[in-house]
Symmetry: C2
Amino acid sequence: MNSIQPVNIGLLGIGTVGGGTYTVLTRNAEEIARRAGRPIQVSFIADRDPERARALSGNACRITDDPFAVVADPAVDVVVELIGGYTTARELVMRAIENGKHVVTANKALLALYGNEIFAAAQQKGVIVAFEAAVAGGIPIIKALREGLSANRIEWVAGIINGTTNFILSEMREKGLPFAEVLKEAQRLGYAEADPTFDIEGMDAAHKATLIAAIAFGIPVQFDKAYVEGITKLEALDIQYAGQLGYRIKLLGITRRRQDGVELRVHPVLIPEKRLIANVEGAMNAVLVKGDAVGVTLYHGKGAGAEATASAVIADLIDVARAATTDPDNRVPHLAFQPDQLHDLAILPIEDAETAFYLRLTVDDKAGVLADITRILAGENISIDAMLQKEAEEGKGTTDIILLTHICREKHANAAIGKIEALPSVKGAVTRIRLETLGG
Amino acid sequence: MNSIQPVNIGLLGIGTVGGGTYTVLTRNAEEIARRAGRPIQVSFIADRDPERARALSGNACRITDDPFAVVADPAVDVVVELIGGYTTARELVMRAIENGKHVVTANKALLALYGNEIFAAAQQKGVIVAFEAAVAGGIPIIKALREGLSANRIEWVAGIINGTTNFILSEMREKGLPFAEVLKEAQRLGYAEADPTFDIEGMDAAHKATLIAAIAFGIPVQFDKAYVEGITKLEALDIQYAGQLGYRIKLLGITRRRQDGVELRVHPVLIPEKRLIANVEGAMNAVLVKGDAVGVTLYHGKGAGAEATASAVIADLIDVARAATTDPDNRVPHLAFQPDQLHDLAILPIEDAETAFYLRLTVDDKAGVLADITRILAGENISIDAMLQKEAEEGKGTTDIILLTHICREKHANAAIGKIEALPSVKGAVTRIRLETLGG
C-alpha cells in the first residue's frame, strides 16, 4: 500500500448500529485495510453513556458525552452519525460539513426531511454525505441504483423496506391471526418497538422510498409529497382472500416515473405470489428495480440489525476513504445525478396514481347486485381482471364479493367505490387494497 | 457540469452486446450525462462487418474492420472489448493497456484465464480494467462484492450464473422431459447456442465463479483449479425425486472460504425449495453472497441479452469516467483487494469439498439391503438426513432408494459410494448429486 495514513472515524452514538459498526470495524480490520488500502479506525466516540462506549472500546479511542466535540475535532476525518432524530442529528451533520468532514449516516428520517439542505451544504464544501445504511440495511441498494444501474433510465422501484411490517404481515398470513395480536408478538420478539407507530403507519418506509425516488429519477428529496398508508387497518380476511386468488399482501414503498410526474407512495399491495418478492418473509427486505436496459433486478437481504446495518456504514466509509482524494466533481453525486442536473418532475398526488385494485364488498345475496357493480365500474372505465364470490353463509343473507380490477387511476377507483357504496344492496364500506403485478 | 469533455469510447465488436451498448448509450445519452457529469460517446467502432456497424451508427463515428486501429487511436479514452475469445481479444486488451487506455470487457473467459497478467499490466500502467458485464449480465454483482459488501469477510458465494442451463433445468422439471429433448427446444428458442458445450458442461459458469472467488476472497484468478461438472448427465427422474423431498436442482457456481483453503466448483446442486434462489426459473441469474456482518444477500436479474449486458458495460464506463482522475492507488482495486494484499489461500481439490449429498440407488427389493448401506455410510462417518424408498415395481424385483446425507467430505462420500456399489444387492452405479442448504 502506498498510503498508510489511517482514516479516523468520529462515531456519534454507540447503540445497536454504532456498536455493530465498532465491532465489525475491529473484527474485520485486516480485511478492510486489504481492500481500502489503509486502516479505518474509530478515533473518537460520543455517546450519552460514555461507560457503554468504554466497555466496547477499552482505551482504544477517545470517548466523550458531547457529540459536538467530535464534529469539531481536527483529527476526525469522517463523522458517522448514528444518533437518529432530526434535531441534534441535523445540527451535528451540518456542523460536521461546515468543518469540512465527510459524513456517513444511517438516518433516513433526517435525509428524507432535510436532505436537500444537507446535500447542498456538502456539495459546497466538497465533502461526501453517504447513506447506504439509511435504506434496506445491509443490502447495497443505494450503490446499485446510483452506480450499478447508472446506464438505465429507471422506470420504477418497489421494495419491502420495513422489516417490522413484513414480519407482521408474514405472521398474519401464516397463522391467520389479526393485526393487533401479531403486533404484540412482534413486540415481544423484538421485531417491533414499544411505540411501533413509525413502522406500522408506513413512515419509516416512506422516508426510505423518498430517498430511493430522488436517486432513481434525479429529483430533489420530497418527503412531504409522499403518500403514506400503513398496515394497521389490514384484515386477516383480506390476506386470506388474496391468497385464494394467488396473491400475497406486502407493504411496499413504490416510486414510478411517468410522463407527467413521479408516483411516490407507501401502502399495502397485492403481489402475484409467483414473484420472488412476494415470497420474502419475516423481517427481510427486498427491492425490485426496473431499468429500461437491464429489466427488473432484485436485491434481497437483512434490512436491519446491528451488523447488517454496520456492513452498509462501513462500505460507505471505504468508499469515502477512496473518494477522498478524488476531485469532488468526479465523485458519485449524492443523489446519483449531478446537482445542477436534477429534474423538477412533480410528485403526483395519490389520486393520480395508477394501480390495479383488490375490492372486497359485502352484498345482499340476491340477483342483480353484481350487474349494478360491474355497470358502475364500466362507467368509470375500470375493467375487471378476476372475481371471487364466496358462498353466502346460511341465514345471513349477505355474501362477500372480491374483485380484482385492471390498472386505473386512483380517482376513478374512488369515484366508482363511492357509487358502489351508495348501492342499497352493498353493506358497509368497500375494502380496497392496491395491486401491482411488478412484471418486467 | 464543470467538465464537459466527453469520454470517447472505442468499441470492439458490434454483435449482440456491442449493438446493445451502442443503442443504450445513444438512447440514454442525456440520462447518462446527467449522472456522469459528461457525455459518454462511441467515437470509433471496429467490427469484422463494417456495414453492420454503419447500419447502427450512421455517420456518428469512425468505423474500421481493424480492431488494432482502435486500440492505437490516441482519441480513444476507453476500449470496450466485446469480441470474445482468448486470442485476439487478449492481444487487443494488452495493447490497449500498453497504450494507456482503460478497458471495459464482458469477456469472462479471457479474464478467468489471463486475468492475473491483464490486471498486473493495468496496475502498472495505472489504467482500469472493468468487467461487471462478465458475471451475471446486468446484475451489478461485481460492484456489490467489491464495494457494497466491502465491510465483510465473505464466507461464500453461490450463484445461478448461466442462463442456458437454468432454462434447461427449469423446463426439465416443469415438463418432466429428458435433457436432450429440452436442449433441442432451448436451441430452437435461442436460449442455447448451436454448439452448447461451453454452457451445458459448466465452463461458462466456471469462468464466472473463478472471477467471483478472486474478488470475494482476495486471491488470484485460478481457473485451472476450478472443479467443473455440467448438467448433461442429469436425469429427469432425479429432478422429480428431489422435488418429492422438497428440493430443486440448479447448476451453481460455488466458492467458499475455509480455514484450509477455498472451494471453487461448478456442478448441479439440490437446494431447499423454500430458498428464494431455488425459485429462480428460466434464463434468469441469481447470486447469493454470505458475509460475516451482513448475512446472506441475494441479487437477481437477467444474466444475458443485449441491453441487460450493455447495462453493466455502461455502468463500468461511467465508473471509469469518474475514476479516471482519481489517484490510481485510491481506485477500487481490480480484484477488490489491493494488489499487494492478495492471499495465497489454496484452491482445494474437489475431494476436499464439503457438501451434503443426494444418493439414488437401485437395490434388490429384500430385507437387509438398507442395513448394509447405512452401515457403510456410518463407517465413513456420514449420517443420513432423509430417506425416500420407492415402492418396488411389480415383478421387477428392484426398488429405488434415495438418501440425503448430512455434510461430509467428498472423499468420504466417494469411499462410501465405492463400497455401496460393490454390494451384490445394489444394481449399477449410485447416482450422486451434491446438496447445499445455503442457509444464513
